[in-house]
Symmetry: C2
Subunit: 316 residues, 2 copies
């Protein structure tokens, strides 16, 4: 049976958290063309946050997407649609053109559970401007179920198209994903679901498959897994494993061979022990990322002791 899902490749957006969005225009073009040939339905080309509302003057252009720049990068859009992510309080709604004047098809709004109301207000505005919309509730492994149920009531009444299950800390296994997919499905009968995983425990691909088997439609991934800390579900595994005659592995292999191997030499992501530890402990990877930036990057036991000690401590 053909898989009824859609792949959203977020290499540029989530991978940008690894290299401060230092991607060349040539690479982003190659990626777009390769993903299009591979049959990937969406490419998330960056953040559409506002440089007025967020420090980051040294970041690459994919952090603060500009429509004129996008038109230069991708002069001719093909079948693969484009998406961008925005964060609550970091996006200026007035920057967002009506969809018919924009290169973007889908705007995704990321938020923590306490900001769902603010996120849905943004969703409404983007919806009115004609975009497909998604709500990405981050850090679900830290959300109490009654707060989630309360949020579902609001979400169900909003015009949002897609609601994402986000395993921000890479701390979930397939049983967790199945439980959440069932709950989201029951509470949000009119919405399509998505999943965004992290690979701290080498479960990103498996969790994505588990979500797909539970009817989740939008599957986030990134080429060679490039994404913050342990990275994401690898795009190459999805296009090779899912049953859909449009998907092709070869163009993704080409991107990895031409670009990602050299990028992985320069920047670090993937299954690295401090990220495994933070995933196991269900924590944000920021402390592990700081460790990896320090001279004590390979002091795994000391790091584990620090995180599991009853006394307060930072990374030394």
């Amino acid at each position: 049976m053909r898989d009824q899902c859609k792949i959203l490749d977020c290499t540029i957006r989530d991978g940008g958290l690894v290299n401060n969005w230092d991607f060349s225009v040539e690479f982003v073009r190659d990626l777009y063309n390769g993903l299009n040939e591979a049959g990937v339905e969406y490419m998330e080309i960056g953040y559409k946050n506002s440089p007025k509302l967020l420090k980051g003057a040294d970041s690459g252009p994919w952090r603060f997407l500009d429509e004129n720049f996008l038109k230069e990068v991708i002069p001719e859009k093909k079948r693969t649609k484009l998406s961008a992510l925005v964060d609550i309080g970091r996006v200026d709604e007035n920057d967002i053109l009506p969809r018919e004047q924009s290169m973007l098809d889908l705007i995704r709004v990321a938020c923590y559970i306490k900001d769902v109301d603010k996120a849905l207000e943004l969703v409404r505005q983007f919806h009115e401007k004609g975009y497909e919309t998604s709500l990405n509730i981050m850090a679900l492994s830290h959300v109490l179920e009654h707060d989630l149920v309360e949020a579902f009531a609001e979400i169900a009444q909003s015009p949002v198209d897609i609601v994402y299950i986000v395993d921000s800390y890479g701390s979930m296994d397939y049983k967790d994903i199945e439980h959440l997919a069932d709950k989201f499905g029951q509470m949000l009968p009119g919405k399509q679901l998505g999943v965004h995983t992290h690979n701290n425990m080498q479960l990103a691909f498996s969790n994505t498959l588990a979500a797909k088997n539970k009817g989740v439609v939008y599957l986030d991934s990134s080429v060679y897994g490039m994404g913050r800390a342990a990275g994401n579900c690898p795009t190459e595994l999805l296009v090779s494993h899912l049953k859909n005659p449009n998907y092709r592995l070869r163009p993704v292999l080409d991107i990895i061979e031409k670009h990602m191997l050299a990028m992985r030499q320069k920047w670090e992501w993937g299954y690295i022990i401090p990220y495994m530890i933070s995933g196991t402990l269900n924590e944000h990877p920021r402390v592990a990322m700081a460790l990896r930036d320090s001279e004590r990057k390979d002091c795994f036991v000391e790091f584990y002791d620090t995180l599991t000690s009853p006394e307060p401590a930072g990374v030394k």
Copy 2:
């Protein structure tokens, strides 16, 4: 609920396929002590094949285990039991001491489906000598179901304690493992089951969890995933994720920090694209291993084209 499973670490045995068993005595001792502290129930310390029956004069001592040497390596056995693997036609049964004179507790017999009868003859001899025994049917992804059913009849009547589901090519996902675990469980009601996975598609850990959730008791793993080609389910993930108060992550982190990082610099295993390709195509990794030993090791697209071409070809 406490997980009722047992971990069998095969770093030395399967990892030896990566480095021709070039492990120092110091490392093997550290590994034994670390695994014992971590609560790991079994350590597979190598192959018990005969050097008379197999080329390999240049291999390290862990390929042709000798009882006197083992006593020097581990002068005092602790809680962690020792196992060894033998291959059909490569073991001399006369080399195997009665268990009460041996360092080994468990002897595992690996075979392809066509040699199950020969394997069970070995199992009978080892059983009579007092050992725990397992039968590891390799390459299950290439076995037709009616051949498997025929083998089950023989296996059910043998004295073997444990029957393994082996995903030699790393080509299975959790649905495949669940299907096999159900089938093995139904057809072999008196036997305990085990699982041995490979990580070609980043599914080794997830597949091991799926097997455990289906009642499989013996879970193979290796520290930092060290094993042939894409390697195995990482021991550190099992001891951190499974619910058993005996399991401790810290001693395994210590082994990784002290030994495995440097070993990974020297020898290669893990999620590497040619191994992903062979896993996806459900093939033995030997052609991919030859590629990684060649100058064209990173020519992924060419390799993919070779393997998927209708014309016969080897690695260039």
